[in-house]
Symmetry: C2
Subunit: 187 residues, 2 copies
């Protein structure tokens, strides 16, 4: 990938970032809160724990513990104990949290929705973006926080549904698009 393209991508990422920051500030939240809520909206049910959030964001669990406590107190997050493992608490988006993410999405979309990509290029653009994402996931050490779709544990079955070979649970198509902590790239 060429330098000019990466540069443009970085600038775009920065603009997206500033947009998210503006939205977080308006809600009286810090960026890290936005990042936490955003992750929780994208991860699957095996990856919605404090530890996973900390790993994904590159923060210590102590730090995340505090921020999550605050988010829970403010009503953005609900902690639900795991049925099988007494150590684990699942972090679920409470209504206020879902509303926040939804609003953030609407805002960002409004920045981009009127951007016109010529129809001839539109499909190529989407294809390239997803191709790059796929390749990065493949490259990024094979382990952790990829989409189930590209995970070696994920198997499509005869009837079209999916099965995770690790948890032996059935997955819907939507499930396979979420971020999983146990992700291992399907070499």
């Amino acid at each position: 990938m060429e330098y000019a393209q990466l540069n443009a991508l970085e600038r775009l990422a920065g603009l997206l970032r500033n947009d998210q920051r503006r939205h977080a500030t308006l809600s009286g939240l810090q960026m890290v809160h936005h990042d936490i809520l955003d992750y929780l909206s994208r991860c699957n049910r095996y990856s919605d724990t404090l530890q996973a959030v900390a790993e994904y964001l590159g923060l210590t669990k102590g730090t995340v513990s505090q921020s999550v406590a605050l988010l829970a107190e403010k009503g953005y997050i609900e902690k639900k104990p795991d049925a099988a493992d007494g150590r684990i608490q699942h972090l679920c988006l409470a209504p206020a949290g879902q509303e926040y993410i939804w609003q953030s999405d609407v805002d960002t979309r409004s920045l981009f929705e009127e951007i016109s990509v010529s129809p001839a290029y539109a499909r190529v653009f989407g294809t390239i973006l997803n191709d790059i994402l796929w390749q990065i996931q493949a490259r990024q050490g094979m382990k952790g926080f990829g989409m189930c779709r590209s995970c070696r544990h994920n198997k499509q079955q005869e009837d079209g549904t999916f099965l995770c070979g690790l948890t032996l649970e059935a997955l819907t198509l939507e499930d396979t698009l979420k971020i999983c902590r146990e992700h291992e790239f399907a070499g």
Copy 2:
């Protein structure tokens, strides 16, 4: 622009972000320090002030003042008083700061350099990215923090050099690619 594309873009931006965070942490810096140094490496000589940094990052000047003080103390930034205006201090990257940005760039590049975009698509991809950037700048309220290249004050002269109609100073080609606080989109 379609939803799937924006989604992929957001994911990519997130991955870039995590990469930057990792690099900042390894250098013992916070994300906000990375953002400040990154901005200073991209802005022009009219936009390297504390106030401009604060506006660009959406933080208060008090906050930025403290973080800049720390960066200066650690040797990443040098404060240079303005020749004409006694209130203004220019924030310049000291050698350590340039080294940090350079390293960060190398790291990020290494994540992307082996990503192969088929040559046929490569040019299209670059074109689309820059087109999107241009359109966002046009849309984003016309004012502030765009590249001189798209600014109405920037005029190309007969000999090929550039002139800023606001400051009446000559600009090099490189200058016109930097971020300027006074940017106004050339309708």
